[in-house]
Symmetry: C2
Subunit: 503 residues, 2 copies
């Protein structure tokens, strides 16, 4: 390999990372500070950027560079860089440019139809555009190819190598493992309010969350906290990871947990190896692993008693009405289990069931059993069967999530993968840190640097050098056969809620 | 011409406008909300975007499209679109890609050296990078070509068709016209504080400025107001023009005048014809005309007594300490004339002299008479001769402006062009509105819609369909010989300050 060839390839990788970074900024801006009337112009500019990225990914010169390099002796890191470049290029090459453009344009118009439909609680507004989206997604799957069934093509876009056949046992095992806990817990909760109802000052909540981020080890010189309708994290570029949260005047829990959740994503982004950030491997390896980071900080830290024992005095000082609570009552409030309609507001125990509904429906859509028109009924039936609750309206049912409107079919399962991985990672960290008592001591003392350091070296700094399952296997010290071990997650749920509800 | 050819050309124009819009967002973000550590990554991404734009501008296919279309009968609008595309392409083609990249990279590193040098008041930190910049600019001028002297190449980048030979008489006439006024005024001012010294609440100033924008007719659904170190406006895209200001706790004047100034730029951007926004002609025609819009709102509105007679009660209610002032005292304060060191803080009378210093020095640099090392002495000599004041330090002298560090040589003269044009435009509006008394009645009543409507149809909606001087000539009802008539500006200064200082 000539130095020149590698330089050329590096330049192309760098350029693609820059385009990704720019797209990230466009997205962040759109969801936080962009003036509303700018939306159509922004959609058009975003489309242009996507076309340019597609054009560069698919250029024959880039293909030749990749093919040439794969013949060479590159060493592990460089080989991984080239292979990931090849993976992204292969997917792009398989898609006709017209389909890429059509999907991008539809994602923009369909999203506003979804907002309208949800606001009006009228699925019929969204249905025709959703059907068009599903048709395009079906074409996309055929172009991309798949292992066993079309759904696998969609899954692989978000979780490298995932298949429905591999995920079905994960859903089954988790559902079977948590259902007894759920049934037992639901009989113990009388539903009365636990935390003071406020009103909480919105700017005080934001200031507290910002302070919390900094104390947890988030570098606020390389990030920001903003408000948005739906909390999200945008890795805008190297040393630039922006998190958002939302606030309610009657309940500060949601803002705090969302902040910790998004912080997990942001820490992962900021923790990438500096010498890799302009390469394909200096990035989140999959959405499942990314979600393992957010779930770990949200649930294993933010929903722990030890965290609240340490944090409560600061939270109560910043958020006045909370002073009437106690660390124990906050702990109970953030872990309260309910059959609820809305996924993003669900507790740890029912959350997997919300995801299971979507997995089942997405598989049915992808494999041709469900059309857009069938979805409201299928959704309600599925919620009743799996969660024991029937949505009274489509707005609180099939219309609640943005994902399908923007063409994200196959994304939902990564939420459960993340939860499952997070429990395995937290177990491994606990062992390495000397056991649960010592970890609790750390949390009570507000010492999160050891946890962050462990995640940095075991997850963040590995980037995308290995496959997701291998990274988790290495971090947890288990052999990887590519399957997802649900044991740690199920044990975590069973034991935590047994203690909490005194089962 | 086949429809297909025009469609292709439109697509390329649209794409270039989108890239421009994206670059605008990167710049806005960098100067307002970007986390500080993100700077190096952002510089790299910005460089990539600039390279992509250059590559697309210079592509042979684009050139063939333009050449082909210019042979056709296109009609006025389409011909103007193609000619402007050709102008941009010609400039790009003349520059070697290495020079474009080198200038972009140097602009990034040189800017931080400038900040350091200014903070440390040590020109030597900046000098080597400035000399490199000037060397690159000299090469750029040779590549671009020029009418009479290298400086013309630089001027034309900012003000289409401007030459030093044409601008010299403007500077001479303005300097000669205002110097007697300046000399007379300076004897009349005793220098005591006019407005209450505060402290003014920063968030109250921002809220007031935001409210002011909305009341002046700025569509806040298509724009924002933010804080930044140096006030600026970013036309991020169609229906997205963001203005910034800065606040001082001891003086609300600066924030208000900067808001009105930037609002003028933003209104020009938002006022472009909707069917042109994705073409080359749906944009600001030149920096001089752009500056005529900002100066008009800042000076002819914001520095008028009638405006303050109407606005004062609202300002005093929002900015508590100001209640001790009067409309007349605010009017005197915003029009106070002083020999000062800093251009951006200068009054209307001395402002042209600050610009004249830079014009003289830039001409000397461009034509090879001045090197970077000569600039501090040349600057101080020029300030003493032209403004009668000698900077005690380089930080308040040659290091005060960001322009040269980012490669903007030839930009400064557009500030005076803008002031001169704004006076001519305001005269024309006054005649059309029925005379000065009626205009004052409008301002006192807070009625700015008629002025905005006149600017919309005479300036904004003309876009870049004509040359800058022609647009001003048409708007003011005068024949255009391409020269810049300084008469209205000089008369405005002479008569306003005669009345104000009772000369």
């Amino acid at each position: 390999m000539t130095t020149d060839t590698w330089e050329k390839f590096s330049g192309r990788m760098r350029e693609l990372r820059h385009l990704e970074s720019i797209a990230g900024l466009l997205g962040w801006d759109e969801q936080t500070v962009m003036p509303p009337k700018a939306a159509p112009g922004r959609a058009a500019a975003t489309g242009t950027l996507a076309s340019i990225e597609h054009e560069r990914l698919t250029s024959p010169e880039y293909g030749d560079l990749i093919e040439g390099l794969l013949q060479q002796d590159l060493g592990t890191e460089r080989r991984a860089m080239v292979e990931l470049a090849q993976r992204a290029r292969d997917k792009a090459v398989k898609l006709p440019p017209e389909l890429v453009r059509e999907m991008a344009e539809l994602a923009s118009s369909s999203q506003s139809a979804w907002v309208q439909a949800r606001t009006a609680d009228d699925f019929s507004i969204f249905e025709p555009l959703l059907q068009r989206t599903l048709d395009l997604k079906a074409r996309q799957a055929e172009h991309l190819g798949y292992k066993n069934e079309p759904y696998d093509a969609h899954l692989d876009l978000f979780e490298r190598g995932a298949t429905a056949e591999q995920l079905q046992p994960m859903f089954d095992a988790v559902t079977a493992g948590i259902t007894p806990t759920l049934d037992a817990v639901l009989g113990r909760d009388d539903g009365t309010r636990i935390l003071p109802g406020g009103p909480y000052d919105a700017s005080a909540i934001m200031a507290y969350c910002s302070d919390l981020l900094a104390r947890m080890g988030y570098d606020m010189q390389a990030g920001r906290l903003d408000l948005s309708a739906h909390p999200f994290t945008s890795g805008v570029g190297p040393q630039d990871a922006r998190v958002t949260t939302r606030v309610r005047s009657d309940d500060p829990k949601e803002a705090i947990l969302a902040t910790l959740h998004e912080m997990g994503h942001g820490l992962y982004h900021l923790g990438q190896r500096e010498d890799w950030v302009e390469t394909t491997i200096g990035a989140s390896v999959s959405l499942g692993v990314d979600e393992s980071q957010s779930r770990l900080w949200e649930n294993h830290v933010g929903r722990s008693l030890a965290f609240w024992e340490g944090e409560f005095p600061k939270a109560a000082a910043a958020l006045k009405p909370l002073a009437a609570a106690t660390p124990q009552s906050v702990f109970r409030a953030v872990n309260r289990v309910r059959r609820s309609l809305i996924r993003v507001e669900a507790d740890e125990v029912t959350y997997p069931l919300h995801v299971a509904v979507r997995f089942e429906i997405e598989r049915g859509i992808s494999n041709g059993q469900l059309k857009a028109a069938d979805l409201p009924a299928a959704w309600n039936e599925s919620y009743e069967r799996i969660l024991g609750i029937r949505p009274p309206s489509d707005a609180d049912g099939v219309l609640q999530d943005v994902h399908w409107s923007i063409g994200y079919l196959g994304y939902f399962p990564t939420y459960l993968i993340g939860s499952v991985y997070s429990a395995a990672l937290f177990d491994a960290y606990t062992v390495q840190a000397g056991g649960p008592d010592l970890v609790r001591d750390q949390f009570r003392a507000g010492e999160f640097a050891p946890l962050l350091a462990w995640l940095r070296s075991n997850i963040h700094q590995v980037g995308s050098l290995k496959l997701p399952a291998q990274i988790i296997a290495d971090a947890t010290g288990r052999a990887s056969d590519g399957s997802i071990d649900t044991g740690p997650f199920v044990s975590y749920i069973q034991s935590k809620y047994r203690d909490l509800y005194d089962l």
